[in-house]
């Protein structure tokens, strides 16, 4: 494999890594700036970070035009840059920018305005982007760890609050267990095939096996490997019963971090899982039995059942939550179930209709979720690091802007028509329904989303209809400029996605259809 390669070739490969390189070096620069800065006032760090992020985003747009539709494999096939990875990367960077803008004031309010936050965020983002731009199980695992560990640290960033540290430790330990499980799965794949490259694994499976039953009989370790890799993803995407870390960590982590990981970890894991599904799991012999029907013991059925459990259980538990952050944690679990429906639809139907729905749903979820957590981070009572429903009493009097934005985000998450979330759900469920085999799932999803509307709208009830007991608590909230900008832009984006969903969903569909260019 290793032979003399020219410097020019090396530089050309580095070209495709520019978004990542910018992030890596900017994280180091910010670390150094933070250490060497004399004054304790470090307000410029947030604009600096967002500047770097914008540079990275620009390079992504540039790369999008530059690379061929079939993608580019670089660094000895360890990294694979294509349109799909660039779209996801762009979303992740947008999420990071919003988080940076919100965090700048938030951290200052808590007196922990230090550069490590931004640095860790950037490193985590690097890992995420690496994770979505690879077709190599091993790179994928390294990237998984690269983005997870900074997130563990960020979750425990409020060192003075017990809950924050607790969430960090919990996340770290359970996350490590999940990583270990996934690594075991990867090891089993390597053991069976002698390779960790997606396409080669697919070829092996395709050539040597016919059906699920046959694999279960001759090579049960392959089934176990599939399951273990899947379990790693199920953990990161927080599907029940791999979800138990979610509420505790969402509650304990600093709210802006919760917003970031609520979207970014989920989006990264789904994108990577989507790649694994497209390249490996969708091989017919892993799905179908001898007579051509879907095997009852294939991974599809596992996901199918887990989606049903997740939809029902997460929505029911969310109803009984008083803490808004916990409630949103359960809501994010139910959103994960929706995204899984998109993946299932994709594996089963293969009609072009279903292509765009996963990415479009992610995009609507990006703005609604981060926006909602951003609003919460401002409403948060100083020193408590949590927001209960009662904290939101009379919010509409304290800051009409925040409440109006929250209304948009909440409506979008609940799936109310003029907002992006509605079309996200609509396209997703429509393509699932058209396929036919998933109509039961769609029915359950629709019913549970009605339950979902209950707890979403309850937030608004507390914001609009309940008053504060004593008048002295009514103080207008001063929303900082960057935070206001971030929230306003997210709200506009949510509305835009709801009003003009068409062009974007087509764009997303084209991005996914690039997978099938050989």
């Amino acid at each position: 494999m290793i032979d003399n390669i020219s410097t020019i070739h090396f530089l050309k490969e580095m070209l495709y890594l520019i978004p990542l390189l910018i992030l890596v070096f900017s994280s180091m620069i910010i670390l150094l700036v933070d250490v060497f800065a004399e004054s304790s006032n470090k307000r410029y760090l947030a604009p600096l970070t967002s500047l770097f992020l914008i540079f990275s985003a620009i390079s992504i747009f540039w790369l999008y035009k530059y690379i061929p539709k079939s993608g580019v494999k670089i660094l000895y096939n360890m990294v694979y840059v294509d349109h799909f990875s660039l779209v996801i990367s762009a979303m992740l960077i947008i999420a990071a920018i919003i988080t940076v803008w919100i965090s700048s004031d938030y951290l200052e309010r808590y007196g922990i305005a230090i550069g490590e936050f931004y640095s860790l965020l950037l490193i985590s983002l690097t890992g995420m982007i690496l994770m979505v731009s690879t077709t190599n199980l091993f790179t994928m695992f390294v990237a998984l760890e690269l983005f997870s560990i900074p997130i563990y640290v960020l979750a425990g960033f409020f060192r003075v609050y017990g809950k924050s540290i607790e969430s960090s430790i919990k996340y770290f330990i359970s996350g490590s267990v999940a990583s270990a499980i996934m690594l075991y799965g990867i090891a089993l794949f390597y053991g069976v095939f002698g390779t960790v490259e997606f396409s080669e694994i697919e070829r092996h499976i395709f050539n040597h096996y016919d059906s699920v039953a046959q694999i279960a009989k001759t090579e049960p370790l392959l089934i176990l490997g599939t399951l273990l890799i899947m379990a790693g993803f199920l953990f990161k995407t927080a599907m029940i019963p791999f979800h138990m870390w979610t509420p505790d960590i969402y509650e304990g982590a600093p709210t802006t971090v919760t917003g970031f990981m609520g979207f970014a970890v989920k989006a990264t894991s789904f994108a990577a899982f989507f790649r694994v599904v497209v390249s490996i799991f969708n091989t017919p012999s892993l799905v179908y039995s001898e007579n051509g029907t879907i095997s009852p013991s294939s991974w599809i059925n596992v996901i199918y059942v887990l989606i049903i459990i997740t939809l029902i259980v997460s929505n029911l538990i969310a109803m009984s939550q008083r803490n808004v952050k916990r409630m949103l944690a359960y809501s994010s679990i139910s959103h994960a179930a929706y995204l899984m429906i998109a993946i299932l639809t994709f594996s089963l139907s293969k009609t072009k209709d279903s292509y765009g729905s996963l990415l479009f749903y992610l995009l609507t979820y990006l703005f609604a979720s981060i926006g909602a957590f951003a609003v919460l981070s401002i409403f948060e009572k100083n020193g408590s690091n949590s927001v209960t429903l009662e904290n939101l009493n009379g919010a509409s009097k304290r800051s009409p802007f925040l409440v109006a934005s929250m209304l948009i985000f909440i409506f979008s998450m609940a799936g109310v028509p003029p907002f992006g979330g509605f079309f996200g759900k609509f396209y997703l469920l429509k393509s699932a329904f058209v396929d036919g085999s998933l109509s039961t799932l769609v029915l359950i999803a629709v019913i549970t989303s009605v339950i979902g509307a209950f707890y979403y709208l309850r937030v608004l009830v507390f914001m609009f209809m309940k008053d504060v007991e004593s008048d002295e608590n009514i103080e207008t909230l001063n929303v900082p400029f960057l935070g206001k900008l971030a929230i306003a832009l997210s709200a506009i984006a949510v509305v835009y996605l709801g009003v003009f969903p068409n062009s974007l969903i087509q764009f997303m569909g084209e991005t996914i259809s690039n997978f099938f260019i050989k």
Partner: protein
Amino acid sequence: MFKIFLMSTTESLSKSLDLTTTYLPIVMMIVVALIVAFGMLALSIFAGPKYPSKAKEYPFECGWLLDSKDTKRKHSIKFYMVAIMFLIFDLEIVFMYPWAITFRQIGLVSLVEMFIFLSILVVGYIYVWKKGILEWD
């Protein structure tokens, strides 16, 4: 152990042997390992000479003497810091061995890559230094 397991599975790809035959070496391996491990322990218990002393019964862990009565004794956090620093540079050297061996084959590019790797480590080192972790007091 893992190697045998691997070999046997790859063999099964081509030959598709019966399950029991495929995993028989592993089962045997496990059994032998258990016999050896427990056998040695049993031998030392039953056949070895015993001269108990206070020093031998003292709990022992990773370089410190732990007093069994005073479990809440505080240890300096600096110890961990230095240990982690050591680990990082230790691994760096581990990474450099294979690089040094294949250096001639890869050429100039590998030199650049190694410099990038080292500079990242140096940034970390500077950060640690400025944060005052190397100052013991």
